[in-house]
């Protein structure tokens, strides 16, 4: 896969809840393996829904998504077809960690590799320890999620997703539920992944983080892409009126 061929290609994506509330209204996005896309926009604008669709967690009404040139998600006569094999090459981290509370940290990390890929427990543990060490969590290997801070939980959640060697990572407002002093440790880990050229799509309200990690910023509102460009342009001097209003409002609140 070259850096310029699309990794993800979304065409004419429509999604409503119960056929009434239109959340995504004809979304077209192309993303290459070299992209780190940050999606910003007002609440209810469809950012998180888009991420959930990309993870294969939602039914869609119309449109199609390909991944690495292969069909991934499509809608045929009201039914959503999702290629489970393609889905396994995508990892996602959620706002509320969603660690498995009955398993310790190591158990959380090795569950999917051993159950999905049939990896040997010893091998999975070894890889898990290496990841935890890299994320500064080696001492927490045998702790349960309830004994961790929010920042630690979220780093474990990221490590858990990485255990499956994803080709794309999705981050859905992963620092929104954190106390302010814990945000940096999680963002550091994601920046570390960015340096290793991990393709990612990030939904965030943190404009500092957006500016620092994005190769591309997409402003989504009303279920469509309003503006799409490099971070300096979209965040610094937006072309569209709606983007400018949004950015001004966000920074106004921040300062």
């Amino acid at each position: 896969m070259s850096d310029t061929a699309p990794l993800i290609k979304i065409e004419g994506l429509h999604k409503s809840y119960g056929g009434v509330v239109q959340v995504l209204q004809g979304l077209d996005i192309e993303m290459t393996a070299g992209d780190r896309v940050v999606i910003i926009g007002p609440s209810g604008g469809g950012k998180s829904t888009l991420l959930r669709v990309l993870m294969g967690l939602e039914q869609i009404d119309r449109g199609s998504i390909t991944f690495g040139g292969n069909p991934y998600i499509s809608a045929k006569s009201g039914k959503t077809a999702i290629d489970a094999k393609v889905r396994r090459s995508i990892g996602m981290v959620f706002q509320h960690y969603t660690l498995f509370p009955h398993l310790d940290v190591i158990g959380n990390l090795i569950l999917a590799p051993t159950k999905v890929r049939g990896e040997k427990k010893a091998d999975a543990r070894e890889r898990a320890m290496a990841l935890l060490t890299r994320f500064g969590l080696a001492q927490k290997a045998n702790a349960y999620p309830a004994q961790l801070s929010g920042g630690q939980k979220q780093r474990v959640a990221i490590a858990r997703a990485l255990m499956l060697d994803p080709k794309l990572m999705l981050f859905d407002e992963v620092t929104s539920a954190l106390d302010p002093e814990l945000v940096a440790e999680v963002e550091q880990v994601i920046l570390q992944l960015a340096h290793q050229q991990m393709p990612m799509v990030i939904v965030t309200h943190d404009m500092w983080f957006a500016r620092n990690i994005a190769s591309r910023v997409i402003f989504c509102a009303g279920g469509v892409v309003v503006e799409d460009g490099p971070p300096e342009q979209v965040l610094g001097s937006p072309k569209e009126e709606r983007t400018r209003e949004f950015i001004e409002r966000v920074f106004h609140i921040k300062h």
Binding site: R52, M55, G56, L57, A84, R87, R88, I90, G91, M92, F94, H96, Y97, T98, L99, F100, P101, H102, L111, A112, K115, V116, Y144, P145, A146, K153, R160, A161, L164
Partner: protein, 221 residues
Amino acid sequence: MTFNFAVVFKFQDALLLGLLTTLKLTLICIVLGCALGFFLALARTSKSAILRGVSSIYVEFFRGTPVLVQLFWVFFCLPLVLGVELSNLASGVIALTLYMGAITSETFRASLKSVGQEQLDACVALGLSPWARTMNVVLPQAVLRAAPTLLSNCVSLFKESALVSAVGMADLMFVGQNISNNTARPVEVLTVVALIYFVIAFPLTRAVTVIEHRILKRLAV
């Protein structure tokens, strides 16, 4: 009136035998009843309206009638309906299992509901198959959450099991009653019987509190 508790010691072997019957009956019914309860809970939360309907009627019926009546019905009516002879133990096991299934199904149902949608989303994101999801994520969490209430259910069953003495099964209560009638020492004998029940049930009810606290701490994420 003077009390002579030494009388009771003469009958300790008989009481022990009665206690063993009580424990055997209770343990069998706990195992069978919990299994029945788990499947009833799955049926009550299933997509099929028939499964939901049948299981709901069953559970409501057994929760809404006295255990003693259920017991009498299984002992005296079931053999007539089925046309087969049932031993005392078999009848007791059937009656108390059906009752235990009904009450534990409510416990399981609540705990199944408590495994939230976010946990299921995480399973999809990790590529877990529906089977792996049920066995490795939903079931362990449901059982963990259900554990304290299940233990309470077990203690209830242990106490309710004394009712089988009413249909002539030689459990602890039955033996106690016999001894008390034969010795004309109801105060001593029945007090000791009550204490035996208490000595077993009390640590279990205390354990419920401890386990509940631990599990809540573990699952508070």
